[in-house]
């Protein structure tokens, strides 16, 4: 069973956290921090499995993770899951995100937390693998999008009338950019 799915960036900022077993809010944060500590100190070419941190159940659990550019995708699983199977599942998840967001980047995860959750819900349910076939997953998401669009007409009309847009360009300037050349070096695949 998958106990938790965590996504955080190279600095440990959480971008997605989904727990399939109840932990209170404080514990969830601690688990994210602990997992980041464990995973981030590892070199990129070591193996993708390690024993879970003490907070999430210690050596009875494994952390299976992949590192993509700026993001770590970590699945915490018990011994009933196949390590390589989960590794592939992470890949399916990321590829699906990539298809849904057209070239996914960290910003997509930040600005569309809800969407990311919906996509994950099509892959994993109650800690078990629900669907692994990407075209099936994509078609389900497409169905949802259609429903959404059919409702959207009214809403976008409303949006046009929204007053007082904040001063956007000024804020954009401040968005932090990662140091490109250095980060490129970290690319995997």
């Amino acid at each position: 069973m998958i106990k938790a799915i965590l996504v955080f960036n190279n600095h440990g900022k959480p971008r997605l956290s989904k727990f399939y077993q109840y932990f209170n809010e404080d514990m969830q944060q601690q688990i994210v921090r602990e997992t980041f500590q464990l995973v981030s100190k590892r070199d990129d070419n070591v193996c993708n499995f390690l024993e879970g941190g003490s907070l999430i159940g210690g050596s009875d659990y494994k952390l299976i993770y992949r590192h993509y550019a700026t993001l770590y995708f970590v699945f915490c699983v018990d011994s009933s899951e196949s390590e390589l199977g989960i590794l592939d599942l992470i890949q399916v998840f990321v590829e699906t995100l990539d298809r849904c967001f057209e070239n996914v980047c960290e910003l997509d995860l930040i600005f569309h937390v809800d969407k990311v959750h919906y996509i994950l819900n099509e892959l994993v349910m109650g800690g078990m693998v629900l669907e692994t076939n990407m075209s099936e997953i994509l078609s389900r998401i497409e169905d949802q999008n259609k429903l959404e669009k059919s409702e959207a007409g009214l809403i976008s009309l409303k949006n046009v009338n929204l007053p007082n847009l904040p001063n956007i360009p000024q804020q954009i300037k401040d968005i932090k950019l990662p140091d490109l050349p250095q980060a490129i070096k970290d690319l995997k695949f």
Partner: protein
């Protein structure tokens, strides 16, 4: 490739504004209209320069949302959705969200899909099983489950699977199985229903469908849709684990499904083929499922399964169809699972050996992941007698992995495997390699390695001089990681085997020559020389005086515990080597011993000194006689390792060669020696060194009064941390005071014992249950707990105390009941005295029974008028007691209310004209009389002070209550 995309998009932002990004990102799949307020808020947060600024911005937003939710009744669905989404984002950043739940629940019943969806998302992230909202949520789920739109049904199922509360299990436990097997249900819904049911099973095993459901559920394995089969396989495995027999029909279905997948070409399964591997996840699930059963009895099914496994092994040898890592991952995921099944069945020698060879290939694969998994699977294989020998072929490679792997996780698996593959034939080599590695091993795995080396050395020792060498090497290399149990064990073995005693004495003597040796070495050395120093004393180089000087040269560098041990060794020398008695007496007499600040050292020095002066040679020889052999027992080290790694640690080498001589190897060290007849260990079998009882029993044959004292002294040589009940690691907790305002809780706790209390009172009678929990891993002997009523308490309280068991097993809890009757009002607490033996050492706890006069309060309801009339009536000088005191914690209304209710009086609302003040009323019942009491508590928030006034109908009781309650707030 993906990663490059990540960067393309990131760099794009550089030259554009957010709108442009949004526009760029507006592709079919993503909500293009977005929620602009949300995007702006997120950008704001990201622009915050400091944590403080971020928190400030978040608090501003939270306040904004809160006021919107509170004030604006006209919020439309879109706005609610936007705010709920913001709350989710804030939650992800690590801030508690304590509102918005109701709005989210409202969204569930929205007729707009997107609003419903976000409502469900919020709930699955932020609502836990015991929320008050569960009922409302369940109602919405019911409606959506009945929807004709599968997307809505799935939202509802996801929500159930996320929360999975007991109420949900009860409400939907019968509904979901129907959904699962009904012919009308769409595949998407079936899939979700299977996993949803699985989730409910975990919460509430009673929802297991049985009878006719069983076969219908099993037959889902034949479903057309592979997604449904995958989900069903997970469900069925969980059901099988609970009721293996009822579901055994799934075996043949699983085998034929597997067979169809394995023999399929990768084009057959179309979308379920993942990088040229047909349905890898499903194959893994099916192979796991089959591991719950023995090999199929039906020859046909068994044959087909063997075929499948062979095919999978064959495919591993074929050239890869793709260079992508995904292809090899998927293929190998199936392969590893197949090998697991082969190991599990443990019946087909050919397959086992093939599996082993395959894993051997992976050991030198360039993918670290595969090397890791191969080591892990080989560990399992090593326990099978068919393959134990084949696994041993890879010994070189594994040792090499230990030396060269860059990843500590992999090295750890290599250690595990070496431990598992060790047997008599290779023990010396493996132990040596592990010792070599230990010198540079990662700190994180040293302790475990030390335990493993110690176990292997003991188990496979044919020559005990080797064993002694190994353990001394362990101490030399990794002394800090050698726990007490390890060095206790070497001493047990040396004492029990006379063929190794001389060698041990010689070796420790040599080891102690090192200018810097670990304190654990000093401990072993001093113990061994104290017992067997005479065996090497003939040699001038290790004459008694030299031995003594050598040990004593370490004395000043050691901790008090070790010094205590050394003093005992010295007094043993007095007996062994009378010629150096004067040297030893000088040491005992030295100021830093005889007047040591450490009470234990001081006592030993003075008592040993007296012993050496007073006692005759005969007495000395009896008191300080050689230790009797220890009784045979399982290695305590193995127990520790099992505790550290539950389920992971088999006894090493339980297969193969080893199986031939299993009896002989169980604690071989101890077999040859008979139990000492006077050795009373039956009640101490867990005490590692067993130091206490032998000396005590051998001493008790001697009538000299000195002996009692000595027994006591000797006992302190047992594990240091338990010398007294108040070990250093744990500050004892004494909660006596808190019980003035509560009846249940933990009264006392230290390293060894936890005492809980539950009590109830009616009128002048009461019943107190004491719960004694043994926190140690040893049983507590001679346990007694008695309650006393000092002084005139005897006349005021009648106590009836039930006896308790004299033994409290490790980790167990026992209960003691105390019945109480209050005859007259009383001031003191009854005493509670607990006595027991821990590790042979008498422990005594002197506590108080949490029984105070206010326990006999009957709460009294009265109105304002009655209260003030009585208040005025009780105006005699002794009838009122008043105290003004500093608050010990922040003044908080709910805290005060809890405490006041806890006093046993009735907390009366709306009586005091000042709403900040509290008044209570109650009647104390004793056998002889009833005493009315009124209370008024006035908090002063500015000064953080309270004024407490008590008036009572009986003189002196007011003061009693006032004193009791004044330090509660």
């Amino acid at each position: 490739m993906l990663a490059t995309y990540l960067y393309c998009t990131l760099s794009f932002i550089n030259t554009s504004d957010l709108c442009a990004v949004d526009k760029k990102k507006r592709m079919p799949a993503v909500r293009g209209d977005g929620m602009r307020g949300l995007a702006v808020f997120i950008s704001d947060i990201r622009n915050c320069k400091s944590k403080e600024a971020e928190i400030k911005r978040i608090n501003k937003e939270l306040a904004n949302i809160r006021s919107k939710f509170k004030g604006d009744k006209t919020l439309d669905g879109y706005q609610k959705k936007k705010y709920v989404c913001k709350l989710l984002f804030i939650f992800l950043l690590g801030h508690d969200i304590d509102f918005g739940h109701m709005e989210a629940v409202n969204l569930l019943s929205s007729n707009k899909y997107t609003e419903k969806q976000i409502g469900y998302l919020f709930i699955s992230v932020l609502v836990n099983t015991n929320s008050d909202l569960i009922r409302l949520i369940i109602q919405s789920i019911k409606n959506d489950l009945a929807s004709r739109n599968p997307i809505h049904v799935n939202l509802a199922l996801q929500c159930i699977a996320n929360i999975g509360s007991k109420e949900m299990a009860e409400t939907f436990g019968t509904e979901i199985p129907k959904l699962l097997v009904s012919g009308d249900t769409m595949d998407v819904v079936k899939q979700s229903a299977a996993l949803c049911l699985l989730r409910l099973l975990r919460t509430c095993p009673e929802v297991i469908p049985s009878g006719e459901w069983t076969s219908r559920i099993i037959h889902l394995l034949n479903d057309q849709h592979l997604g449904v089969v995958t989900a069903a396989a997970s469900l069925i495995e969980a059901l099988v684990k609970r009721n293996t027999d009822e579901y055994k029909g799934c075996v043949s279905l699983a085998v034929s499904r597997l067979s169809r997948i394995v023999t399929a070409s990768y084009t057959d399964l179309q979308d379920y083929t993942y990088y040229f591997v047909p349905a890898p996840w499903l194959s893994v699930k099916l192979l796991r499922l089959l591991q719950n059963y023995p090999p199929p009895e039906d020859a046909g099914v068994r044959g087909r399964l063997t075929e499948c496994l062979e095919t999978i092994l064959n495919k591993a040898q074929e050239p890869p169809k793709s260079k992508k890592v995904q292809h090899s991952n998927a293929k190998n995921a199936v392969l590893f699972e197949a090998i697991s099944l082969i190991i599990h069945a443990d019946s087909d020698a050919t397959l086992l050996v093939r599996g082993c060879n395959q894993l051997g290939q992976f050991l030198s694969h360039r993918e670290t992941n595969l090397r890791y998994l191969a080591l892990e699977s080989l560990c399992l294989l090593a326990t099978s007698e068919f393959s134990h020998e084949s696994v041993k072929k890879h010994q070189e490679t594994v040792i090499n992995a230990l030396k060269t792997e860059r990843d500590v996780s992999v090295r750890q698996r290599a250690v595990d495997l070496l431990y598992a593959m060790c047997d008599k034939s290779n023990a010396e080599e493996i132990v040596q390699e592990m010792l070599n590695y230990l010198e540079t091993a990662d700190y994180s795995i040293r302790e475990e390695m030390v335990l493993k080396v110690a176990i292997l050395a003991e188990k496979y020792a044919t020559d005990y001089t080797w064993y002694v060498d190994v353990i001394l090497n362990l101490i030399r290399i990794a002394g800090d990681y050698v726990s007490d149990e390890v060095w206790f064990r070497v001493i047990q073995i040396v004492i029990n085997r006379d063929d190794v005693q001389g060698y041990a004495a010689k070796t420790v003597f040599e080891a102690l020559q090192a200018p810097a040796c670990h304190e654990n070495m000093v401990k072993v050395g001093s113990y061994v020389l104290g017992e067997f120093g005479n065996l090497i004393a003939g040699d001038q180089r290790s004459s008694p005086a030299v031995q003594f000087q050598l040990l004593h040269s370490k004395y000043h560098l050691c901790s008090a515990n070790t010094r205590a041990l050394l003093l005992t060794t010295y007094v043993k020398f007095v007996n062994l080597f009378p010629e150096i008695k004067h040297l030893i007496q000088d040491v005992f007499k030295a100021d830093n011993n005889l007047r040591s600040a450490d009470a234990e050292l001081q006592q030993r020095a003075s008592e040993y000194l007296q012993l050496s002066i007073v006692a005759s040679t005969d007495v000395l020889a009896t008191v300080l006689e050689e230790m009797p052999p220890f009784p045979e027992r399982e290695s305590s080290i193995l127990a520790i390792l099992k505790k550290k790694k539950p389920g992971r640690v088999a006894e090493p080498g339980t297969a193969g060669n080893d199986a031939a001589t299993p009896k002989e190897r169980k604690s071989p060290a101890l077999n040859s020696v008979g139990n000492h007849s006077t050795h009373n260990t039956s009640n101490q079998s867990t005490d590692l060194l067993g130091l206490t009882s032998p000396s005590a029993t051998s001493a008790s044959q001697n009538p000299a009064p000195l002996v009692d004292m000595l027994a006591d002294v000797f006992s302190s040589a047992s594990p240091p941390s338990v010398n007294n009940g108040f070990g250093s690691s744990f500050q004892p907790i004494d909660n006596l005071k808190k019980f003035a305002c509560k009846n249940n809780g933990v009264l006392f706790e230290n390293d060894l014992l936890q005492i809980g209390v539950k009590s109830e009172f009616r009128q002048n009678l009461g019943r107190i249950a004491l719960y004694f929990g043994n926190k140690t891993s040893f049983s507590l002997q001679g346990f007694s707990s008695s309650v006393g009523t000092p002084g005139d308490l005897t006349t005021k309280l009648i106590l009836q105390v039930k006896p308790v068991d004299v033994n409290v097993d490790a980790g167990a809890q026992i209960q003691q009941l105390v019945n109480v009757e209050c005859v007259d009002e009383f001031l003191e607490y009854p005493t509670l005295t607990i006595l027991f033996l821990y590790n042979g050492v008498q422990q005594r706890l002197s506590l108080k029974l949490p029984l105070t006069i206010n326990k006999f309060f009957e709460p009294t309801e009265m109105n304002s008028e009655a209260f003030f009339t009585r208040w005025k009536n009780l105006s005699g000088s002794n009838q009122e007691a008043q105290k003004i005191f500093q608050a010990t914690q922040p003044i908080d209304a709910s805290h005060i209310r809890t405490k006041l209710i806890g006093t046993g009086m009735k907390l009366l609302d709306g009586i005091d004209p000042n709403p900040e003040n509290y008044v209570s009323a109650g009647i104390i019942h004793t056998r002889t009389q009833q005493i009315g009491c009124l209370l008024r508590l006035e908090p002063n928030r500015q000064a953080q002070m309270y004024r407490l006034t008590i008036r009572s109908s009986k003189d002196s009781v007011a003061k009693l209550i006032c004193d009791l309650l004044c330090d509660q707030f």
